[in-house]
Amino acid sequence: MSNILLCGNPNVGKSSIFNILTSSNEHTGNWTGKTVDLAVAKIKGTNYNLIDLPGIYSLSSLSEEEIIARDTLLFSEYEKIIYVMDSSNIERNMNLLLQILEINKNVIVCLNMIDELDSKGISVDSDLLSDILGVEVVKCSTKNRIGIGDLLDSLESDRVSNFNFLYNLDIENKVDDILELINFKLKNKFIALSLLEKNKSIVKSIKDKFNIDINTNEINEYLMTVNAEDVSDNICYKINDLSKEISNRVVIRTKEKKISFLDKLFTNKITAVILMLLIVFGIFLITIVLANYPSDLLSLLFTKIESLLYNLCIKFSVPEFIYEPLLFGVYRVVSFIISVMFPPLVIFFFLFTYAEEAGILPRIAFNFDRICKCAGCHGKQALTICSGFGCNACAVVGSRIIDSKRDKLLAILTNAFIPCNGRFPMIIAIISMFFVNSSNKLLVSMYLTIFVLFAILISFLTSFILSKTLLKGTSGFFVLELPDYKKVSLSRILKISFVNKSLSILKKAILVSIPSGIIIWILNNTSVNDISIYSILSNFLEPFSKLMGLDGVILLAFIIGLPANEIVLPLIIMGYLRSSNVPLIADYTSIKSILVDNGWTISTAISTILFSIMHYPCATTLATIKSEVGSKWMFFAFIIPLITGISFLIILNLFI
């Protein structure tokens, strides 16, 4: 089994090629750095493994993705490189290709989106390109499945590029000098150039991988005389000139790129604000309205199954102490999570993935960068906020698209304020019961939008405060490509959002809620002096909770709900009913009467919603944070929203 590397700029359809060649379902995002973990899969009908490198603009190795790509190209074993280009942008894409050709000449060029050239008024002479570079050039379109067979055939070609180019004499001489001095088995021009540019990351990579310090005293001494900035400039000029020259020879352009109608809408102050509020509001409305039916259906189904299981247990005389915790603890918690969380999750991620694939998200980052900058964070934080509405853990993983560690931490630490799909059902239920007194979906969505805007505000405020204290500094560099809007296939999106996102989140949520189902049952069914532990704990929390406008039962529900936010509301109801089993949630009217009987007022409702927005992230999110940035920051991610929530509520309740 030998390896093939898949390289290219962001937005050239690299992941689509990967998916077609390997029949897998990797997700193509429309921004840099979507593929941080290298996806590897077998190419159908061959003996090759295809390795998908991150989409990058160059190998100058300033970002994590570039380092991963460069190290894989330099140090790993592979047979060939498939370099994917956007046919309508040969010049910009040529840059990286020329750099790659300095590392390895076994390259196949894949001109993707070839079928879009006519409408863009561009023609590309692929034969000439092939002659110039001395490589196989395959014309492709992943959208219409053109040229995939040719691409597979080209893997068998043994053509190796003979393309070479020289920098100015001074640099070439220096390269020769350095190559003389290097005593490392991998000596090539790329490494020599990197050393001349005083690129620290390559020294580090070689040290980590081979335990060799390539920067020997001789080399260091030699480099003292070298102006790295000048070398770097000259390399860039040369590669840029060459890209332009090649592009001018093979590309004929008859039309200039125009601003699309959507971009006019998205960048006009008035239409953009209206459009974006409508999108947010619309997403919630659609989610609330559509999720209702499958939710009802699922909970009906689960109730039926439960009574079936119960009857079975009775029939086979399963002892009570076995089936009660399993059925009334675990089963009810799990079925509640599935029926309440899953339908909105699927709908949300369908819409989100659509926005992502269509190229809308970079526009959001573009428009909100100014606000982000004021809050001391990076424009891409607007994107992690968006995905936080679906799932905070996903947003934490998604923060990888942010280059600087500081900006990434800001995005992670403030993401817990963004109510995720696990919290929406409770917030929506409370709004429906206490704010609008009806099932008027339009009004519910409106209130929800207000709370969401508040959550975003708090998230930015916290960013601002953190950027002045814990994470001092200014946000990193912001340059962002705004790719063309893409037409996307709905069935593909449905598949991606369902399989890659919704199902995997659901799986995690269920796994963490199983133990909590058991714990809840035990707390309720073990008693000291005839009072269940659950009641003892909630009584203990009562005085403190009152300060925050909550009560002991609510606070305890949030504490036990750490594994998954979805179970907070059923826990509250269970606490009030003093029932020993997780209750079956009936309609809003009956829940409301339970709550009101236990002293809920509009201010309890507000406080509960606010605490749901401002408390610690769920266990899954915390675990994700730990694996992304370590336990120190996990601690901060836990404590910051919690302290904010507690102090906010105490102050609020002093005044109302």
Binding site: L62, E229, I259, K264, K269, V479
Partner: protein, 74 residues
């Protein structure tokens, strides 16, 4: 003059990039390099960052960085 002086739909040629290190290299990689033609295509809703067309792609750059990109009319 610098990039910020460009009005929407106006184009110019990049003369120099007065930035150092990572920022300059990043801009080079995105096509912002001396002699390249650049056109301002639209602003974001808060006027910063702005979007420029360079090498036939749309790239957004913050005002603070655009101030350091020297340009001149053709």
């Amino acid at each position: 003059m610098n990039l910020c002086d460009l009005k929407i739909n106006e184009s110019a040629i990049i003369k120099n990039i007065n930035l150092k290190g990572i920022k300059k290299r990043r801009l080079y990689d995105m096509g912002f390099i001396n002699g390249e033609k650049i056109e301002k295509v639209f602003d974001s809703i808060f006027k910063d960052p702005s979007c420029y067309k360079i090498k036939n792609t749309f790239i957004a750059v913050r005002r603070e960085d655009a101030l350091n990109i020297e340009v001149s009319y053709e």
